[in-house]
């Protein structure tokens, strides 16, 4: 029983992280039909922001990191993607690759290719102990922060004026504009939110790795993209669901695969993804059936 609870908590932790990654990708895709690979760079730069500010108090580090990621996201929108509105999705994807490669090179030129220390406070290395169940503080914090972000974002989208604008733009961008929704504002808002999500992902992730390299954000965004596709790329709910599905499956395989098969965990995981997409190419949630957001 204890082992089961332990495994479940670990699974929810990984699911939370994947959901954060997936949401950052889906946020932009929903509005712009852009698969924003440069989200990886946002996470990397966020982690470097944590490294550069390592001597400051945690609250300040978090604020700086969030600010850096949001500003960079807005800058990317303005410089790289604004001129490409309505362009072919392939063009957008290639542009986001180019942006990502450029920023990776910039990080390498600035900070070198060796890992740079980006530690979180010691407090995060402690564990919360409930009987015989151990929850590392970082895992607990990740689960709680993700839950709060998801609740906050849903409330924002459901209850506020701007949230309604975003939902409208995600469903039918042209109609939303004709009704007076300003295209620039909605897209900038989506990028800003993806910046916040990248910053939070970076902060939580440096908690486990402790170091940053120029390709820090790459794997998270790959997993996020896969999770978003599993969930249904144009639905935010789908992205969150996909994130949790992928994270939980991965962790359960890790916990319950026989020892000699464990190194092949990801092979099993992606075989499952492959099978799912053969059966349900549109992902778990498709916009036709439900809402887009």
């Amino acid at each position: 029983m204890t082992a089961l609870i332990q495994a479940a908590l670990d699974a929810v932790y990984l699911g939370s992280l994947f959901a954060l990654y997936a949401l950052g990708v889906a946020m932009i895709f929903g509005i712009m039909r852009l698969i924003n690979f440069a989200h990886a760079s946002l996470i990397t730069v966020g982690a470097y922001a944590m490294a550069v500010t390592a001597n400051l108090p945690l609250v300040l580090r978090i604020l700086v990191t969030v600010a850096v990621c949001v500003l960079l996201a807005l800058l990317l929108e303005f410089v790289a993607f604004r001129g490409l509105r309505g362009a072919d999705p392939a063009t957008l994807l290639v542009t986001s690759f180019a942006v990502s490669v450029l920023l990776t090179a910039l990080c390498e030129a600035t900070f070198g290719s060796l890992p740079k220390a980006s530690p979180l406070d010691d407090w995060f290395q402690l564990s919360w102990v409930f009987g015989s169940v151990y929850v590392p503080t970082l895992n607990g914090v990740t689960i709680i922060v993700t839950a709060l972000l998801l609740i906050g974002l849903s409330l924002f989208l459901a209850k506020t004026r701007w949230g309604t604008h975003m939902r409208a733009a995600a469903e039918d961008f042209t109609t939303a504009r004709m009704l007076g929704v300003r295209a620039n504002r909605v897209i900038m808002l989506a990028f800003a939110i993806s910046g916040v999500l990248a910053a939070v992902a970076a902060i939580l992730l440096v908690g486990t790795t402790g170091t940053v390299t120029p390709i820090f954000g790459l794997a998270p965004v790959l997993y996020g993209l896969i999770a978003a596709v599993v969930g249904g790329l144009s639905s935010l709910r789908g992205a969150v669901l996909g994130g949790f599905a992928l994270g939980i499956t991965s962790q359960l395989l890790q916990s319950f695969l026989p020892g000699d098969l464990r190194p092949f965990r990801d092979a099993f995981l992606f075989a499952a993804v492959f099978l799912l997409l053969v059966v349900r190419p549109q992902g778990l949630i498709s916009p036709k059936q439900g809402e887009r957001i």
Binding site: E171, T175, L179, G180, V181
Partner: protein, 247 residues
């Protein structure tokens, strides 16, 4: 006939192209305050393209579009609606994941005064009682006729001076079509100017003050219903159309 008043909408020599395909070549038309002006013609005549250019969805390649004497060509759709022009597109384009009320409030995005928006909302609910009944339902559950009412009500929420209607009767049952046309007449009586594109040429021309007949990107004839022929029925005959199936 009305040289004395400046037209509300004045389109001169409009040319619109999709890549190398020129859909509208040199179209001129105008709408006076309080008029219903119909634009009729077969599929592919450039009617929808003309409306889209006026609403800012397409950038004209040539010509001018003036509203209240000020040039609006090349403006973005979100700015055109702020000038007082609302377009109800063909196919209604209801946001199905939003509720009826959210759709309506979205139509008032450009209006800052919440109290006035509330009042507009109440006006729409009394004009279209079915929308009041369904206000908190997802708009995807409405029938075609109800969606058309919602699309018109949503456009009215921006408090426009000029309403552009693209094929409002398309795909609706005859009884519902009657309702839509009655609404259009009632809106004009409230002082709204209307530019109406219709394939249901006979009825559109009959209810209009003036009409333009378009074919292959040009205005081929224009004038009052009387001038165009026996109650505009001639326009339909001349075009050899009548209820045509469109995708």
């Amino acid at each position: 006939m009305t040289e004395t008043t400046r037209p509300l909408l004045d389109v001169q020599d409009l040319t619109v192209a999709y890549g190398t395909l020129t859909a509208v070549r040199g179209v001129s038309l105008y709408v006076q305050p309080g008029e219903i002006v119909a634009v009729v013609g077969p599929n592919g005549a450039g009617k929808t393209t003309t409306l889209s250019a006026v609403a800012g969805l397409l950038r004209p390649r040539g010509g001018t579009i003036a509203f209240h004497g000020r040039s609006i060509d090349g403006e973005k759709p979100e700015d055109v609606v702020r000038r007082g022009i609302a377009l109800v597109r063909e196919g209604r384009h209801i946001l199905t994941s939003l509720t009826v009320e959210e759709n309506l409030l979205l139509g008032a995005t450009c209006r800052p005064d919440r109290e006035q928006v509330r009042r507009s909302l109440d006006e729409q609910f009394s004009r279209f009682p079915i929308l009041a009944e369904r206000r908190s339902q997802h708009a995807g559950y409405l029938s075609g006729g109800e969606q058309q009412q919602l699309a018109i009500a949503r456009a009215l929420m921006s408090s426009p001076q000029l309403l552009l209607l693209d094929e409002p009767s398309l795909g609706l049952a005859p009884r519902i079509v009657d309702g839509v046309f009655e609404t259009i007449v009632a809106l004009r009586e409230d002082g709204l100017s209307i530019l109406l594109v219709e394939q249901n040429a006979t009825r559109a021309v009959e209810m209009s003050d003036r009409a333009y007949v378009m074919g292959t990107g040009r205005v081929t004839r224009s004038g009052t219903p009387e001038a165009l022929g026996e109650g505009g029925g001639m326009a339909a005959e001349y075009l050899g159309l009548e209820p045509e199936v469109t995708p």
